[in-house]
């Protein structure tokens, strides 16, 4: 019998249709917020995995190679003036010039294979660029004078080419990134001023830069000790960090100057801006809808209490403690909000799985799990709403529990 009659008094005065309406409204508001936050988190993870920090875009720029270049009549390097001009563009955050090797470098490796041994041998062309412009930062990415081991970063495309193109065609085993990073090979350096022997090791893979990269410290040292040129070399390629919003401007500039850039990345950047904008709109819409639905839910609760005003006043006048009435409403609200939160999370998870599958078609890999901050944030938001609602109920019941002064 306990609490049964009291509950019945409050429940009987409610209109289920209004309650369901209020719940659906509240649910939709939260759903929009949840899904926008989750998709935004996914998007950010995907973009970060491609190491394009939000708000900027890294572009590798070079001059178009024409017949003149082939005939050695035109220059395909960037002069100091051109570099300075690029630096001064308002849409450019910062730049770094690539330094290429001015010495011969040969990589070789012998693979023990039973009695015989297979070997590979290749000439290397290497570049270095400012560490701040790399999309990967491996721990062993440093070189100082006296180190025999040269860390290297390869383009991801390189291993993809090998694994999906070269290896299957030749019946060779595919190699994981981890396997490749285990290999140590010999590097022989030879230039006008002498020769030297080093070992090389792949320490990471870059999506941003299509080049074999070595630390700048090594490149500077080797160029000055073994290089064939006396003067500091001019760069063939430059990496530019541009402001995301100003991409069209800089694109136009490159076109006017006859520079080439990695167009595909630019497309990604545009796609990213668009997606970001859409998610932004969705989030704003979600906030508006949530604001409206939360206010309507607050109004619903006020309405529910004023609908039960006679019952509440009457039961208070029989000596029922007002705090128990607040607790009763608070418990019902907690139940409703918990259901809203849990169902929302399940639904967001479902929708996310669908979009994940869709994104996979385009080669994007979104995280499989819900973002922990989205879950925590969602529950926090709902807990906050519950507290606000309970305080709202409390103040209304409290005013009914004291003698009426009017």
């Amino acid at each position: 019998m306990s609490q049964k009659i009291v509950s019945r008094i409050f429940i009987k005065t409610q209109k289920p249709s209004q309650l369901i309406g209020a719940i659906i409204g509240c649910f939709l508001g939260f759903f929009l917020i949840f899904i926008a936050a989750q998709l935004f988190a996914d998007f950010k993870t995907m973009v970060n995995s491609q190491e394009q920090s939000i708000g900027s875009q890294f572009l590798v720029v070079n001059k178009q190679v024409s017949v003149l270049n082939s005939l050695k009549l035109g220059k395909s390097t960037f002069s100091k003036t051109e570099v300075d001009q690029l630096k001064s563009l308002p849409s450019v955050k910062r730049i770094s010039e690539f330094t290429a090797n001015q010495f011969e470098a040969v990589a070789s490796m012998s693979i023990p294979n039973g009695e015989s041994s297979a070997a590979f041998r290749t000439e290397l062309f290497m570049e270095s660029v400012g560490d701040d412009f790399l999309d990967v930062k491996p721990d062993d990415w440093y070189w100082e004078l006296g180190n025999e081991m040269i860390p290297m970063i390869l383009p991801t495309d390189f291993i993809n080419l090998y694994n999906f193109n070269f290896a299957p065609g030749r019946g060779l085993p595919q190699l994981s990134k981890a396997t490749i990073q285990l290999a140590v090979f010999d590097i022989d350096v030879r230039g006008a001023k002498g020769t030297a022997h080093f070992t090389g090791k792949i320490v990471g893979f870059s999506n941003r830069i299509s080049s074999v990269l070595v630390p700048k410290s090594f490149m500077n040292y080797a160029n000055s000790h073994y290089g064939n040129n006396q003067t500091a070399p001019e760069s063939y390629r430059i990496i530019v960090e541009a402001k995301q919003q100003e991409l069209p401007k800089i694109q136009q500039y490159f076109k006017d100057e006859g520079y080439e850039t990695n167009e595909e990345l630019l497309k990604n950047g545009k796609f990213g801006s668009l997606l970001q904008a859409i998610l932004g709109i969705l989030a704003v819409l979600g906030i508006v809808v949530m604001f409206v639905s939360v206010s309507s839910f607050i109004l619903y609760v006020q309405l529910a209490i004023s609908r039960s005003k006679y019952e509440i006043e009457t039961i208070l006048r029989q000596g029922y403690p007002h705090i128990k009435i607040v607790q009763w409403y608070s418990k019902q609200l907690a139940l409703i909000f918990t259901i809203i939160a849990v169902v929302n999370l399940i639904l967001v998870w479902g929708v996310k799985n669908i979009t994940n599958a869709y994104l996979e078609n385009f080669g994007f890999e979104a995280p499989a799990q819900l973002n922990i901050f989205v879950i925590a944030g969602g529950f926090l938001l709902i807990a906050l709403l519950w507290i606000v609602q309970t305080l709202n109920v409390r103040s209304q019941i409290y005013s009914l529990a004291l003698p009426n002064k009017k």
Binding site: M1, R8, Q318, L402
Partner: protein
């Protein structure tokens, strides 16, 4: 617990307060005694009940319960007052029309439990309630929704509900207005005997002196 009126003037009655009245003077209701408030309508009988019940706060002066000022009562203190110390029958009865007679009566057990953390409610047993209902002639209505009863029947339900709790005072606002003399007498006897058994005081209001009750001290307002 004595109830002391100390210079009380209800704000709506401020212009009409005359001498020789409970208003704007000092008057003490002593526990264990029986009082009948007699006055024509509009003189503040229900206001007096509302002050004691703690439903009205629109007055000047001080209302003291055993020396304690009612203005300092918290909502919890008021709920204890209403549940355990002072039982009220309001003129408009304040029953729950969508509950049955029995549910209206048993609600008091839940209220007691809410105060005593679910232990040993100090209410009457169901059997006693049925016995009292039988005396008042509404035994057959126990499972009927209160909304379907006549006003006279509802008055008896409200009286039973008021009796179904421990109290030091029972205050009844026009409790017999829709009862015939015989039923009113039965109800009054039941109230007096139960009040006496708890050494509780009784305050009854009545519209006019047609209903002067034997053994009750008349109080003019």
């Amino acid at each position: 617990m004595d109830i002391e009126f100390n210079g009380i003037i209800p704000l709506p009655l401020a212009e009409f307060v005359t001498e020789n009245s409970i208003w704007n003077s000092t008057f003490t209701f002593t526990q264990g005694n029986k009082y009948q408030i007699v006055a024509p309508s509009g003189k503040g009988k229900s206001t007096l009940v509302g002050l004691i019940a703690g439903t009205r706060g629109d007055f000047e002066g001080n209302l003291l319960f055993e020396g304690q000022n009612s203005r300092q009562f918290s909502p919890i203190r008021w709920s204890q007052w209403r549940a355990n110390e002072c039982s009220i029958v309001f003129q408009d009865l304040q029953l729950f029309p969508k509950l049955t007679v029995l549910q209206n009566l048993m609600l008091m057990s839940e209220i007691q439990q809410a105060h005593n953390n679910n232990t040993s409610p100090k209410n009457q047993t169901k059997e006693t309630l049925f016995e009292w209902a039988k005396q008042l002639g509404i035994e057959s209505k126990m499972d009927v929704l209160v909304g379907n009863l006549s006003f006279g029947q509802m008055q008896r339900v409200a009286i039973l509900r008021a009796l179904n709790r421990p109290f030091q005072w029972i205050v009844l606002d026009e409790p017999f207005s829709h009862l015939d003399t015989e039923n009113a007498k039965i109800a009054l006897d039941l109230i007096t005997s139960i009040a006496a058994s708890q050494n509780a005081g009784i305050i009854v209001t009545a519209l006019d002196s047609r209903f002067s009750i034997e053994g009750f001290t008349p109080v003019n307002i």
